[in-house]
């Protein structure tokens, strides 16, 4: 066979591969656009009726056809924030132990266990929350917190067990495995020369970890945190089971609340009126945009830190 034909075939193959890759890439972009489009179209009634006040309205009353999403946005943000506050130090600490201190065999075994945790369905975490965490919170943790820190308004009010704090803790338990496994990976990817340089300059093990290894890996650490935040914002089942499902904003973290994902899951099937349905879809749209913003923010953060290259 002449060389030209062979080459042409290769080029054709190239073109096929190129086209297919392009097609798949476009499909992804198209899917995202389609999701956004559907959310926008199917929320039009609610958007026209309530405008921007949908975001600030605190009343959620299907009987009176009055819808405001503020309690749900508040619940999602607060529970995710609690989850991050608890899970980020815990996850990074555990990852530091696994990557820097633990003997390799123990590290691998523990990592396997932790990665199995990430595969547990969220409804199971919800059950654990209901069966274990809720009674524990009601009987011990919340009364103790109130005694110690009752002067701060977030730790006041009756201890129901269910509520923002419990939901945040369940979320924390759920996202810790993500943080641990991603942070461990990025720590292990730090070149050995960096550790050795730090040690050779008279750093202790901890100084080398805290001042060289961790800063070197900071982009990956940010990535892990935002990945975890993305999961926390969208988590539905486990939150629904322990947050209390009451559409009201309350300063106390002990109080029952609601989240965006939870209200969609709970009320979608019983949303009879068109406006009700559109209001729920609009909550979906807000959740969609919120996760987009979180991801965009993560990107910007990573780009900025990479470009600057220095973080003293």
């Amino acid at each position: 066979m002449p060389a030209g034909g062979w080459r042409a075939r290769l080029r054709n193959g190239d073109e096929v591969a190129h086209l297919m890759a392009l097609l798949f890439g476009l499909t992804l972009a198209l899917l995202t656009t389609l999701v956004a489009f559907e959310l926008v179209v199917n929320s039009s009634l609610a958007r026209h009726r309530f405008g921007w006040s949908f975001l600030t309205g605190q009343t959620w009353d299907p009987v009176a056809d009055q819808y405001g999403a503020a309690p749900f946005i508040y619940g999602t943000v607060v529970t995710s924030a609690i989850a991050l506050i608890v899970a980020v130090p815990l996850g990074i600490g555990a990852a530091l132990f696994l990557a820097e201190l633990a003997p390799r065999r123990i590290s691998d075994a523990l990592t396997l266990v932790i990665e199995l945790l990430a595969a547990v369905p969220s409804v199971v975490y919800g059950l654990i929350g209901v069966a274990v965490l809720v009674p524990l919170m009601r009987q011990y943790v919340q009364p103790a917190l109130q005694r110690v820190a009752g002067s701060i308004p977030v730790f006041t009010g009756p201890a129901y067990g269910v509520g923002y704090l419990t939901a945040g803790l369940v979320l924390a338990i759920m996202i810790v495995p993500f943080i641990v496994s991603v942070v461990r990976e990025v720590l292990l990817a730090v070149p050995r020369e960096q550790r050795e340089a730090a040690l050779a300059l008279g750093s202790t093990r901890w100084e080398s970890t805290a001042r060289v290894v961790l800063p070197y890996a900071r982009l990956g650490v940010f990535g892990a945190v935002f990945l975890a935040l993305g999961r926390a914002l969208g988590e539905t089942m486990a939150v629904t089971m322990v947050i209390g499902n009451r559409p009201e904003i309350s300063a106390s973290l002990f109080a029952p609340g609601y989240s965006m994902a939870a209200v969609i899951a709970n009320e979608f099937t019983e949303a009879t009126g068109n406006l009700y349905l559109h209001a729920l879809v609009e909550i979906g749209l807000v959740l969609f945009l919120l996760t987009m913003i979180v991801n965009a923010f993560a990107r910007i953060l990573i780009v900025v830190t990479t470009r600057r290259g220095t973080a003293a």
């Binding site: 020369e193 960096q194 050795e196 340089a197 050779a200 300059l201 202790t204």
Partner: protein
């Protein structure tokens, strides 16, 4: 881990250790001595009974083919092999007469006295200033911010890098050229005021001009530091070193003043290697 600053655990000796004849009066008294040092990685022996005296304020070059143990040997001198799992060492390594593998030795303080420069330049992804300041900060050497700045500048000057970076102290070290990065790593090592500088093929990744600058720097530095350099490049060993040690298969074959080792070696194996018959 605690760091003792008041009384250095690796005390300077009051009496000269085993005076080896004329050595005691030589201008280069023994700084580091290894006696029958063997090192094992798991079941594999990487060093066999290496006995070698390293004189102060001169450059000792370690040469030999890849895998001969010269880098491993270098890393026993600041206990850098400690961080590699499953290593075991036998024999004695002394710095100014004190056993650095003795129980209770503060490894962190040891490494401050025995600085190291690596084969691949490995600046931290921080600014030029923060790279050099790192060791000063973790060892709390500076009394004030002004003192810190002075120490950084002095180290950069010593490493012949000051003029090139003085206007970009707060830019990322990763923006420097390879040769500049390596000199930055030297400045970083000098900033903690070591006595000894270990260099593991410091110029192997550099172009000839950058290499020449490093070699000139080594020549300058030996007035104040004891330098041990591992090199692949025999011309480099011949150019920069006062004493050369030839390693082969984990054993020290021969050590002699550099000129003698290259022109009139005692061992046939050394002769074969330096004349390029193998390796």
């Amino acid at each position: 881990m605690t760091r003792v600053t008041a009384s250095p655990p690796i005390a300077r000796p009051r009496v000269e250790r085993h005076a080896t004849g004329a050595e005691a009066e030589s201008p280069h008294p023994v700084k580091i001595a290894t006696e029958r040092v063997s090192l094992f990685y798991g079941g594999k022996q990487a060093l066999h009974d290496v006995t070698l005296d390293i004189g102060s304020n001169q450059v000792t070059a370690l040469i030999g083919p890849s895998g001969c143990g010269k880098s491993t040997y270098l890393r026993t001198l600041n206990r850098m092999n400690d961080i590699v799992p499953k290593t075991r060492i036998a024999g004695r390594v002394t710095l100014d007469g004190a056993d650095i593998y003795a129980a209770g030795v503060d490894v962190v303080a040891l490494r401050r006295r025995v600085g190291m420069v690596f084969q691949r330049s490995n600046p931290f992804p921080k600014s030029n200033f923060d790279n050099v300041a790192y060791g000063i900060r973790v060892n709390r050497l500076a009394s004030s911010r002004g003192d810190l700045r002075e120490r950084v500048e002095a180290s950069l000057r010593r490493a012949a890098l000051w003029d090139e970076v003085k206007d970009r102290l707060h830019e990322s070290a990763l923006a420097l050229s390879g040769g500049q990065q390596q000199r930055l790593c030297i400045a970083r090592a000098l900033a903690v005021q070591p006595d000894v500088l270990l260099m593991d093929e410091p110029a192997s990744a550099l172009d000839p001009i950058a290499t020449q600058r490093i070699e000139e720097l080594i020549y300058e530095l030996k007035r104040d530091y004891t330098i041990v350099i591992v090199t692949h490049n025999m011309q480099q060993a011949a150019r920069v070193s006062d004493v050369t040690a030839f390693f082969w298969l984990g054993k020290l074959v021969e050590v002699a003043p550099t000129e003698q080792l290259f022109t009139n070696p005692r061992e046939k194996l050394t002769d074969d290697y330096v004349t390029g018959r193998f390796g």
